[in-house]
């Protein structure tokens, strides 16, 4: 039986200098700007919308949340604060879905939502 999903306030959020990395064993393809991810280990297929697809593309283990937010600002002409919040949320969701390489404890997962996000 699955645990009930945590609310967004309860989910640990990645710090802005965190470098998310896709799991090497998940397959994905990009079609018409959207990414389809196949997670055979968990038996799930995910379809990402264009914004989430851009974030997924940037989850290379090198780019920080801040870096990824910068790409979002350019692509969607949104302000940096909104972009950072969106990237943080999507990365947290990708973690929850088990699609990213698990983060080490040393890489801070900031539990304070308001304090962790800066312009």
């Amino acid at each position: 039986m699955k645990e009930p999903a945590k609310s967004i306030q309860e989910q640990p959020l990645p710090a802005i200098d965190y470098r998310p990395e896709r799991r090497a064993d998940v397959k994905f393809c990009k079609i018409d700007g959207e990414i389809v991810v196949v997670d055979r280990r968990n038996g799930v297929v995910h379809q990402l919308n264009p914004a989430a697809s851009l974030i997924w593309d940037c989850c290379d283990g090198q780019s920080t949340i801040t870096d990824i937010a910068g790409h979002l600002v350019t692509a969607y002409e949104v302000d940096r604060k909104t972009a950072t919040m969106d990237v943080t949320k999507v990365v947290a969701d990708l973690h929850r879905l088990g699609l990213l390489v698990p983060s080490h404890k040393e890489e801070t997962m900031d539990r304070t939502r308001s304090a962790g996000i800066q312009d």
Binding site: C29, I31, E34, V36, V38, Q47, L48
Partner: protein, 294 residues
């Protein structure tokens, strides 16, 4: 006192059925008259000739029950508790073996029909109406290819036919009456391919479109384009031999989505759904490739 001797009896073979499916040759030896008639009704349109079949099945009655024993290539043995189970288990084993014999084909859990010389796939979860919708569309001018297995050659994008009997779990709604040639088992209704009201499409033909079926209880039938990404996800979820293909099968789903029209049909009334599918596909076959009008 005479010593009892165990005498091994050999079942006399009453019937031998040779099938040719996707280029694979299969022979079924059946020592039970009822079982042989059941198999002939189910696979009669798949019959072919060969000297040395690639797959061999033996079917006989179980000695101490009302079930059947199925033996594959003299090795694996399955016990079917009744006639419905016999067809189910044989079909399941055959499907696995066909995938192993033809790994180059991309096997989809889908119904396949012919429309104006091109193949249309229907995809839905089990119990979602694939076979019933297939039966309905056969009354609307579509040709019959398969009701649940649609292998595709990814190089040519041709869909191969598997015209075994249409298997329904319950009586179809009006006005799509069942023919008198049906076979009822413990759990299913089988309509032999020879009894369909339309033509059989036996040669492989190029894929035109994929329709994902969804039940919408109480709703009017509605058909709309799906994004290519959604089509890829849905196709992949219905791929049977994904790991036999490049990119763990994801490449195949992507190619099929890119090269075909992908639609989602939500319906409650089967006649309404069939009419909408025919009208939509007719429009698309004549007009632009993109479904911008939907």
């Amino acid at each position: 006192m005479p010593v009892p001797v165990l005498v091994k009896t050999v079942d006399p073979i009453f019937y031998e059925i040779t099938l040719r499916i996707f280029g694979c040759t299969i022979r079924v030896h059946c020592s039970d008259e009822y079982a042989s008639s059941l198999l002939l009704a189910n696979y009669g349109s798949c019959q072919g000739r060969c000297k040395d079949p690639q797959l061999t099945y033996f079917v006989r009655r179980a000695r101490h029950s009302s079930g059947f024993i199925i033996t594959t290539n003299g090795r694996n043995t399955l016990f079917a508790r009744d006639d419905g189970d016999l067809l189910f288990l044989l079909e399941k084993d055959l499907t696995i073996n066909l995938q192993m014999q033809q790994p180059r084909l991309y096997f989809l859990h889908a119904a396949a029909l012919e429309f104006n010389g091109r193949a249309i796939l229907l995809i839905a979860p089990s119990g979602g109406g694939k076979s019933t919708t297939t039966w309905g569309l056969l009354h609307e001018g579509f040709g019959y290819m398969s009701d649940e297995l649609a292998p595709i050659c990814l190089d040519t994008m041709k869909v191969y036919a598997y015209p075994h009997a249409i298997c329904l779990k319950s009586n179809p709604p009006l006005p799509y009456y069942l023919p008198h040639q049906i076979v009822r088992t413990s759990s299913t209704i089988h309509i032999p391919a020879t009894a369909v009201p339309s033509r059989l499409q036996l040669d492989p033909i190029r894929l035109f479109g994929v329709v994902f079926l969804e039940r919408g209880y109480g709703q009017s039938a509605n058909i709309a384009s799906v994004s290519k990404a959604e089509a890829v996800a849905r196709l992949y979820a219905n791929t049977l031999n994904a790991l036999a293909h490049q990119g763990e099968g994801l490449d195949g789903s992507e190619k099929i989505a890119r090269k075909s029209i992908c639609l989602r049909l939500t319906f409650d009334s089967l006649p309404e759904a069939c009419a909408l599918i025919r009208k939509t596909l007719g429009h698309l076959r004549e007009g632009p490739r993109k479904c911008s009008a939907l």
